[in-house]
Every structure is written in C-alpha cells, then in structure tokens.
Amino acid sequence: MNNNFVKGSWQEILDWAQNKSINMLHYCTGCGAIELPPTMTSRYDMSRFGIGPAATPRQADLLLVTGYLSTKTLRRLIYTYEQMQAPKFVVGFGSCTINGGMYWDSYNTIKQLDKYLPVEMYIAGCMPRPEAILDGLLKLKKMINNGEADGYQRYQDNLEFYHQNQEAVLGEVQRTQ
C-alpha cells in the first residue's frame, strides 16, 4: 500500500468534510457585519451550504473580516487568527479590506489585508450584498474542496514576510504563546 496515496486520499476526505462544514467567526469591524444577518437567516439561509456561525476562534474555520481595519483592530485580528486552528481561512469583505475603500487616505486604516494575513479571497462591494457573499462563500467551498485554500500553509511558509509587514504598521505585536 502506498503510504502517500493513503495520506493523500485521507486529506481529500478531510478537505471534502471541511468544505461541507464551515464555521465562521465574523469579525465585525465595519459596516459589513450588517449584511450577515440576512445571509444567515431565512431570506438567504447560508446554513443550507453547511456554513454556520462560531462563537470563538477555537471553534472556527473561517475568519470573515467584515470591513475596514484600523491598526488597533488589526492587532486583535492577528491575535484572533493565531488562536484559530488549522485548517483556517480568511475572507476579506468589501473594498475596505481590498484597498482601503473610502478610508483610502486615513492615517490609521490598513489598505491591503493580504499583506498582514493570508487572505483566501475577497468579496468586493461596498458593502457586498448577501448574494455576493453567498457567491463568494460557494467559491471558497470549491477552493477548499480542491485543496486550493492553503492560506494557513502560506502563512507558515512566509512567516517572516507577514511578521515584517505586521510589525511595520503595529510596532511590537503580541502573539499567542
């Protein structure tokens, strides 16, 4: 029996289970959080895709960053991300996380989330409507199923890069022990 084959197929099964069951931690930083209740409740009902809310980072697979991030919030976001357990995914929400959005010239709002955390995908819009959110999350499911959502591995591999960027805007960063 080929050991790698077994490992590979087992990983595929886990990926499949992961794509069918995603618990998201919505980090409600900006206005985007208000788009989530309709997405979760009866109008759009994201639970039919196996996506549901999680109460704490320990139980979550998906970190939704729902809006602009001030540097102060970014520090907490990084801490929260590090408390999550692999496999874990980050999705940026709205134009603020992509390029700063309407806060493009604010002195304390970061402009590109993917420089600080390994973002799997962005959902564009200001704010994205529930349809867009669902569309984005379905794409994320596909990515997970195909094993393409490997943000947590990228984070491990490029730890230096991410830490450098984080420390450039935050100074000293407290990390999990």
């Binding site: 980090y27 704490t56 980072p57 320990r58 520090r75 907490r76 976001l77 801490y79 929260t80 408390q83 407290q174 999990t176 022990q177």
Partner: protein, 621 residues
C-alpha cells in the same frame, strides 16, 4: 484491658508536650506512634465483644462503679478514631514545622484521642460524662489554638451550647441515679422502659442534648462553622471527620442501648415511624438544606467544607432516625465514608493552606499544575462526596435513598436529593477556584507538599476507591453492629448490597466504567496530537491578556443562585441569636431565684425548656 486505650494516649500526651519543646517534629511523631499502636491493638481485639472492665469506688457512702466494655459499635468508632489520627499525625509531622503551638496541639490532640476512647468504651453515665467533658474541653483548646483568634462571640456560643447541654445531661442522669441507685446503662434502660413514657422521653432528650450539639444538627449547628474556620488546619479533618461523629455514637447509644426507640415505639406514628423519630429526621432534612445553601455562599474554603459537613450530618441523622435496616446501614456507611472523604478534603486543603498560607478561595488558583497529587486527592474525595459512582460516597447515599423511598418519606427524600445535587455545586467551587483556573503570579514557585504529607492523602484515595468497589468490608462490621443493637441486617456480599428495590453491584459498575473510559481513550488517542498552550492564551475577544490575577473567575462563583437565598441568609446573619442569648443570661439570675428551690428533675426540665427556647431563636448562622 480497655483502660490502656485511655491511659496510653494520656501518658503519651505529656511526653509529647515535653519532647516537642526540644524538637518540633517529636510531638507529631509520638502521636503517630501512639495512634498506630492503638490501631494495631484494636485490630487484635476484633471480635472479642465480651471484653469488659470495672472499678469500684466508694464515695460519700455511695458505691460508684465505673464500667467499660467493648461493643462492635465502640470498636468501629475507636478504629476510625485511631486510624484518622494516625493519618493526621503523619501529615502534621511536616506541616507543623512552623506552627507556634505544636506542643500544645499534640498534648491536646492525644488527650482528645484518649477521652474519645473513654467515651466509646464507657458503659455507665459517670464515665461517659467525665470523658465527654474532657473531650469537649480539650477539643475546645485545640480549636482555639488555631492561628486566628477565635472570635469572642463564637467561643461564647460554643461554651453556652456545651455547658447547657452538659447540665441537662447531668440533671437527667442524677435523676435516674436517684431512682435506680446505679449509673450503669442497663439498669437505666430497664428503669426508663418501665417508667411513664413522657417522663422517660424527657429524660432521654435531656441526656441526648450534648450529642445533638456535638453532631451539629440544626438548630444546634451554630458552633460548627466557627470552630472549623478557626481550628488549626491539621485538626479540621479530625474535627469534621471524627468529633462530629462521636455525637452520633452518643445518639445511637441513647436511641438503641437506652431503648429510646422502644419507648416511643407505640406513640403516634407517621407512615409507621413514631412522630418523634420523624421529627428527628426532619431536623436532619433541615440540616441538609441549610448546610447546603450556606456552603454554596462561602468564600473561605474551610468554612465551605464545614457547612458541607453540617449538611452531610443531616443524611446520617435521617438514616439513624428512621431506624430501618437499610436506613441504619446507610447512615453507618455514610458515617464511615464521610469520615474518609471529608478527611481527604480537609487534608488536601490543609496542604494548599500549608503552601499558600490563605484560606480564601479567590486568593489562589491554578494550583493543579503545581500540586497534582493534592488535586488528585481532592478530586477523588469530592467525587465521593457528591455521591458519584464508583466511589464509596455513592453507595451510602444510594442505600439511604432506598431506605427513604421504601417507606415513602417524600420530604426527607426531597431534602436528601437537594443536598446531593447541590453538593456538586459547592464541591466544584474549590475545585474550580483553587485548583483550576489561572495560576497567580505569586504562586508560580509553589511545589507539591513533602512526602510525609503525601502519604496520608494517597492512603485515603486508596481507601475511597477500595470501599467504592468492596462495600462488603464495611458491611461486615455494620452487620455486627446491627446484630448487637437488635436491628435486622441487610443482605450483602463483598461487592454488592441488596437494597429495597434492586441491588448495587460495584463490580459491574467498575467493569463498565473501565470499558467506557477505554473507548473514550481510544477516540482521544487515535485523533491528531494537540499542541500545548499556556493558560493565558485563551479566547478573550481578541484582547491580549497579561494579568492572570484578574482573569480568574472565583469571587461569588454562584451569585445567581445566592441571589435566590439572599433574604434567608441576611436574616440569619443579624446576630439575633446572640442578643437573645445575652438577654436570657441576664434574666437568668431572676430565673434562679424563682426556680432554685425545685426538685432535681425540674432542673432537667428547665434545661430542656431553655434548649427548646434556644433552638427556636437559634436561627442559622
């Protein structure tokens, strides 16, 4: 020779006092050796129930006879006393290194052991009274030699209760002596049986008062909490484990050997139980409930366990009062088991106090990673206390439940259920706040206790599990006691007990437990290995926590529950009891003038009356 059980500790007491002045460890070592000797020689006389001894003394024309004898009941209590004092003495060899009064402690401790032996072997009232008073006073000195000063009011309360009870005892005994010309138990029992029932009942109630006080039954439990809160940490296990139980010894003697139950047999009954017995059982039920509610409120670990002792005493008195074979066996089992697990708890807490120097639960936390064995001892003991199988605590509670359901005593059962479920709450509080949670920065360097303090805890853990699997060992001596007292015995084997509705079989339980845990372990072991992180790396809504002190949930752990009983607790804390006692004492002078010319039996009556009044106003503290 039964006198040696009294005089060896007494003689050793003074030796310990003198030697301990030279070497701090000598006193406890002597206590340990004496207890070991007592334990060994008691083991040797097991079964020789015909042993007895008597002295004659001529005093002022009266021929006084001091009688001593060995019964299964007194043998059991003597063994328990010497065993627990052995463990405590071994524990305190190390733990008393910095204790200022260790000489006095060992002197008094050995005297207490000796006087308890005297109480247990006494077969006449005079001997009983002498040793009882000796025990009360020496234990009082022991309690007040704690590091904290015993509050004036608490001491006052204890003395009032003990002295009043002792007087009532003495009056009743002298009355009986006038009638029979003897202090011995048998003639007294015969006299009481043939006397008019109300008078006999009154006399026996007067005689039993000191035992009620010692057992800490509601409403006479007011001294227990303060005594525990102030006693030296090494004495608390003995106080709660043994000293309270001596009260039950006295009660059993009064109920069975002085034929109290025979006298009230034909009075008005409720569901086949004489009303007076039912009243006693109800007192036990109230004791359970008040002790439990107040235990949940405590912030001081010793006081919490003290209140828990009060509530567990309720179970024992219920079992003794309903006096069915199951009830009696259950309460004797519970008496033994309570001694075992409560001593374990107190020893574990004593170890914590030894290392941290505080009894407040919110001042410590997270000690499990520093004192794992102490934690294991505490955990095993609380599993037993909460009555969770497969430990000894469950068996005794199970037997008591069976006894209560068998007769359909709904309200007694309700109190028993309440105490049992609520005991989860109060035993979990120290577990969670002292041993689990965040470790305080000032306790980072704490180490596990020394070997000599570990050994007693280890032995007790073993005993809890042993009796949990083989209750037959305990049932063996209990059935002899029941036989001796004329109660039917319960069917049992080494690992099973026959209840009223089905049997308890600890072997099956143990097997099944093993199977369940193996499956769970397999699930755990086959899954991915987990990564160890620190206690401060917890979900804190994204904020980085550095201050362990404020990140520990300990103070007012059950606030929502306490809110339900705030009114009740506030009422009890008003000092109502003290003011009324003081007023009674003031008017005592005028009382004396009016009633002093009365007959002896009137005195007994007054004592009882005083006690009824005290009981009525003695709303829980």
């Amino acid at each position: 020779m039964l006198t040696k059980y009294i005089f060896v500790p007494a003689a050793a007491a003074f030796a310990a006092y003198i030697l301990n002045k030279k070497n701090k460890k000598a006193g406890a070592t002597i206590t340990a050796l004496v207890s070991a000797y007592l334990l060994l020689s008691l083991a040797l006389i097991y079964g020789s129930w015909e042993l007895n001894q008597s002295f004659n003394l001529s005093l002022m024309g009266y021929q006084l006879e001091f009688l001593m004898a060995l019964t299964p009941l007194s043998w059991l209590f003597a063994v328990l006393t010497s065993a627990i004092s052995l463990l405590i003495a071994v524990f305190s060899i190390d733990s008393q290194a910095d204790f200022k009064f260790s000489s006095v402690f060992n002197l008094n401790f050995l005297l207490v052991i000796g006087s308890i032996m005297g109480v247990l072997f006494a077969r006449d009232f005079l001997t009983l009274f002498i040793f009882w008073e000796l025990m009360t006073w020496t234990s009082f000195y022991l309690i007040s030699s704690g590091k904290k000063k015993m509050a004036g009011r608490a001491a006052y309360r204890y003395l009032i209760l003990s002295a009043a009870a002792a007087y009532s005892f003495l009056m009743a005994v002298i009355f009986i002596f006038q009638q029979t010309g003897s202090f011995a138990f048998e003639p007294a029992a015969e006299f009481l049986l043939n006397n008019s029932a109300p008078q006999s009942i009154l006399l026996l109630l007067a005689i039993s008062l000191p035992f009620w006080v010692k057992a800490g039954i509601f409403p006479l439990h007011v001294w227990v909490k303060d005594a525990h809160g102030n006693a030296p940490k090494e004495f608390s296990p003995f106080l709660s484990g043994m000293l309270l139980k001596v009260g039950f010894y006295g009660l059993i003697v009064v109920f069975h050997q002085l034929s109290f139950f025979k006298i009230i047999e034909n009075t008005i009954a409720y569901r086949g139980l004489p009303l007076l017995s039912y009243l006693f059982a109800l007192l036990g039920a109230v004791t359970i409930i008040t002790g439990t509610i107040l235990a949940i409120r405590q912030e001081d670990m010793k006081k919490l366990i003290a209140y828990s002792s009060i509530s567990q005493m309720g179970y024992i008195i219920i079992g003794i009062a309903i006096a069915t074979p199951l009830g009696f066996s259950g309460s004797m089992l519970h008496l033994m088991n309570h001694l075992i697990f409560k001593s374990t708890i107190f020893l574990a807490l004593a170890a914590v106090i030894y290392r941290t120097g505080t009894t407040k639960m919110y001042e410590v936390g997270g000690l499990i990673f520093r004192m794992p064995l102490t934690f294991a001892a505490y955990l095993t003991a609380i599993i037993a206390l909460a009555g969770i199988p497969p430990t000894n605590g469950f068996i005794s509670k199970w037997v008591i439940y069976q006894a209560l359901i068998e007769k359909g005593y709904l309200f007694l059962a309700l109190a028993a259920f309440f105490g049992s479920i609520a005991s989860f709450m109060y035993v979990f509080k120290p577990l969670s706040t002292v041993f689990l949670g965040q470790l305080k920065p000032q306790h980072q360097e704490i180490k596990e206790v020394p070997l000599l303090m570990k050994i007693p805890m280890l032995i007790l853990i073993g005993v809890i599990v042993l009796f949990g699997v083989f209750p037959g060992i305990q049932m063996n001596i209990i059935s002899q006691i029941s036989g001796d007292l004329g109660i039917e015995t319960v069917n049992y084997s080494l690992y099973s007990i026959q209840g009223a509705f089905g049997a308890w079989n600890s072997l099956y339980i143990f097997n099944v437990f093993a199977a369940g845990f193996v499956i769970a372990l397999l699930v755990f072991g086959l899954a991915k290995k987990s990564k160890l992180v620190g206690l401060l790396d917890t979900y804190s809504s994204g904020e980085y926590v550095t201050d362990a002190e404020s990140y520990h949930y300990a103070y007012q752990y059950y606030r929502p529950f306490d809110r339900l009983f705030d009114n009740l607790a506030a009422k009890s804390l008003t000092g109502f009891y003290e003011t009324l006692t003081a007023n009674l004492l003031k008017s005592g002078e005028s009382f004396r003038r009016i009633f002093a010319a009365g007959r002896v039996q009137n005195y007994a009556l007054y004592s009882v009356l005083l006690f009824v009044i005290l009981a009525a106003v003695g709303w829980i503290i």
